[in-house]
Point group: C2
Chain length 247, copies 2
């Protein structure tokens, strides 16, 4: 594992998961980082590296779960917390304190939506397989798609609508922040998981889709999405396409 | 509504809910605050005041949901975000940046546990009644009590165990923070909701229970818990005692 990288990200291999919100911020900023667990075990990578970190009782704040970011002597867990830390370093959050709290607020609301989207396929417990909770998942999916997804996405559309400027509509008026990157990722994920329901709802969120498309067209994000670093969506992650759950 | 109070908290009336994590920090610090929605509508309170706030499109960061804190010209939503803001003002977080990120990390992990504890009685959707999702709730409760509660509480016990000093064991070594107050509240809530399962698990978390009891004995917290300001646990909040869900 090259020790020259400035940031080290630790996350489960094989899925985008919550690690993806961190990756998108690092990629947009062109930061030097290593996705540690995806490196070979011979070079300090692999799941073993993640397990060693999670089991390290000498850390000032032991992580409960990945993602975990290492930066110098800092070791930080919890997605929104990592982004709060990275925001100023990557210039993806406002320089003023009030703006940083606003962006953190949006990120936490997105985190709530992500947790609810995940639990559509795991309404009973994460430690059971989807196959062991399919009837419950079907009930939850109907509620999520008719109630919760519209409520959350309608809210973010309202925020964007209030923040329109000639330069575009962002969650934080006047600048692209890590919360916008996360919103774009949530929209990618919901469209992947629920293509029919998402298409039906899409006419109601033109600003959100415009933001998502503008982010996907940014040179570094576009290069990332087209690279092997971007793990494809799959049925092990947060956003899973099970046709029986789509409206 | 007296305008002399320094802080204004907006939260749903009648339940502790997520507002309680903010209340406990304000109470421990002896802060001057108003629980706005619990004031009379004639004095600017009531649910109408909350609805006006949630509908205010002129706010720099529109809240998705309560709790919301007003402090001077700041309007901040999302529980962990409010506490991140209040921490330094109430001296309930370390003065150094690394310490504040550590406390925020713990608070976010507690927020994850709170969301999972809530969804025990609402595994299908928050917009349906408990009575409409009882079989699913029963399945989820069994998983929560056998898998998730032990995992989370075992984790916090591990953190406390690593942080023991002659002055006590806290989530952030050497000082009481708002995350400790929140952990105590989660323990109160889990014991209320699942008295049998909690009693059975209790021998495994002596440091956590010691922290909880020490917090309950702090003069300002004790006075608060004994006052009418502390809303009793009930079956409308996050932590609900439905005997059929207890192991």
């Amino acid at each position: 594992m090259g020790k020259a990288a400035e940031y080290e990200l630790y996350y489960w291999p094989g899925i985008q998961g919550r690690g993806e919100f961190v990756r998108l911020a690092l990629e947009e900023a062109g930061a030097s980082y290593i996705d540690v667990v995806r490196e070979s075990p011979a070079h300090g990578g692999g799941t073993k590296a993640l397990m060693a970190l999670l089991g390290d009782d000498t850390l000032p704040a032991i992580p409960f779960a990945p993602p975990v970011l290492k930066h110098g002597d800092r070791v930080i867990a919890q997605t929104a917390n990592i982004l709060l830390y990275l925001g100023p370093l990557l210039e993806l959050t406002p320089p003023d304190e009030a703006g940083r709290f606003a962006v953190n607020q949006h990120q936490l609301t997105l985190a709530d939506l992500v947790a609810e989207a995940h639990d559509v396929h795991h309404p009973i417990c994460v430690s059971l397989y989807y196959e062991d909770q399919k009837p419950e998942a079907r009930r939850r999916a109907a509620q999520f798609l008719s109630q919760r997804m519209p409520k959350f996405l309608g809210y973010f559309e309202r925020v964007l609508s209030k923040n329109r400027t000639p330069g575009g509509a962002y969650l934080q008026k006047g600048m692209l922040t890590y919360a916008d990157l996360s919103l774009a990722q949530v929209l990618f994920g919901l469209e992947y998981a629920f293509p029919r329901a998402f298409a039906a709802f899409s006419p109601k969120i033109p600003l959100s889709l415009g933001l998502r498309d503008a982010i996907a067209a940014r040179p570094r994000i576009r290069a990332y999405l087209d690279s092997p670093r971007r793990i494809p969506f799959n049925e092990d992650g947060i956003f899973r396409h099970y046709p029986e759950l789509d409206a």
